[in-house]
Amino acid sequence: MTPPDASPADQVKATDASGRDEPHPTSQLDDVVHQKARLGILAVLAEAERADFTYLKSNLGLTDGNLGRHLEVLAGSGLVHVEKGYVGRRPRTWVTITRAGRHALAGEMAAIRELLRRFESG
């Protein structure tokens, strides 16, 4: 999803029914979270709380490299915590969602819903 085709000022501000300026929902979209795969990772972790690399890979249909890069971005922003360990001799990577990650996911979903509401109300 790309931001609406409007001037930057229009994208950030809109006027509500009472004449007050309120931020346009697209200004609430976070580039880190908005990406499809990263949003999926956060959605899975918000329910599972903790998941390993293999579970995320198979549920999201991503390759090892792709998932690894997205996790680096999310971990770099403090939205997930990555913990590497071993089960026997096999390495196993567990990913946990952080409080900031839950907030970011909730904010993103709220912004998308608000965007839809505005489109639908014309």
Partner: protein, 246 residues
């Protein structure tokens, strides 16, 4: 509406739908209710049996003018019955925790055993250590009036931490029914019903007072039935599961 806006709406709806689907899949995988319900059902059936023995064997009516002292075994059984939901309940939570830990390790997803084990140890401490603490009278009163109060609180905290409303609903139903049965509510309402319908004399009082035990047994069977149903539903939806992102 511009084509561009239509495209935006479709894209936003697709993102929402995909995210909700992923959440549902992860919820289905990690929040199996079957084992908690199975364990609660078995514990409730066990409590019905314990209550039956206490009510009909240990505290049974003697003949006119007869009396006897309780044996050591009967006293010990009475103590066990008093702490049933503290000790058996704690063991039940630990069993659930063990199963959840193994499951999340195998599946590669889920919060694991932590909350269940903490709840189990908390209950065990309440049942075994607190009787010797200054809080013993208050906790004893609560346990006497509502024996499932503490396991109920532990389960509600777990449901809240795991964001599991279904577990919370089942916990409330379980806690309420067991407490009402413990207080003799169902026997009294059945007696009221028989009085209103004029059938009091047609039912033996020894049968009438078993109403609460019957309700406990039925609740235990309902919980086990719900566990079996949840397991079947989970297995069926897992078969249909496909990755939704590419």
């Amino acid at each position: 509406m511009h084509d561009n806006q239509l495209h935006e709406i479709a894209a936003a709806e697709a993102v929402l739908a995909r995210t909700e689907q992923l959440r549902r899949d992860a919820r289905r995988d990690t929040r199996a209710l079957a084992v908690p319900l199975l364990v609660l059902g078995l514990l409730t059936l066990g409590y019905a049996v314990v209550s039956y023995v206490e009510q009909n064997v240990i505290a049974s009516d003697l003949g006119p003018g007869q009396s006897r002292s309780a044996t050591d075994a009967e006293l010990q059984f009475g103590q066990f019955a008093d702490t049933y939901w503290g000790l058996a309940g704690a063991a039940g939570l630990l069993v659930i925790g063990l199963w959840m830990g193994v499951r999340s390790r195998r599946l590669g997803a889920g919060a694991g055993a932590g909350a269940w084990v903490a709840g189990g140890f908390g209950l065990f401490l309440l049942a075994s250590v607190v009787p010797f603490s200054p809080l013993s009278v208050m906790i004893g009163m609560v346990g006497f009036m509502a024996p499932t109060a503490f396991i109920g609180i532990a389960l509600l905290v777990i449901a809240w931490r795991r964001r599991d409303p279904r577990l919370a609903v089942w916990t409330v139903v379980f806690g309420l029914v067991v407490t009402l049965a413990h207080l003799g509510f169902f026997t009294n309402r059945l007696a009221d019903l028989l009085r209103v319908t004029g059938l009091t004399d047609s039912v033996d009082v020894h049968v009438l007072v078993q109403a609460d035990l019957v309700v406990l047994a039925v609740l235990g069977l309902i919980l086990i039935g719900a566990a079996v149903r949840d397991r079947r539903t989970g297995a069926a939806t897992r078969r249909d599961h496909e990755p939704v992102l590419s």
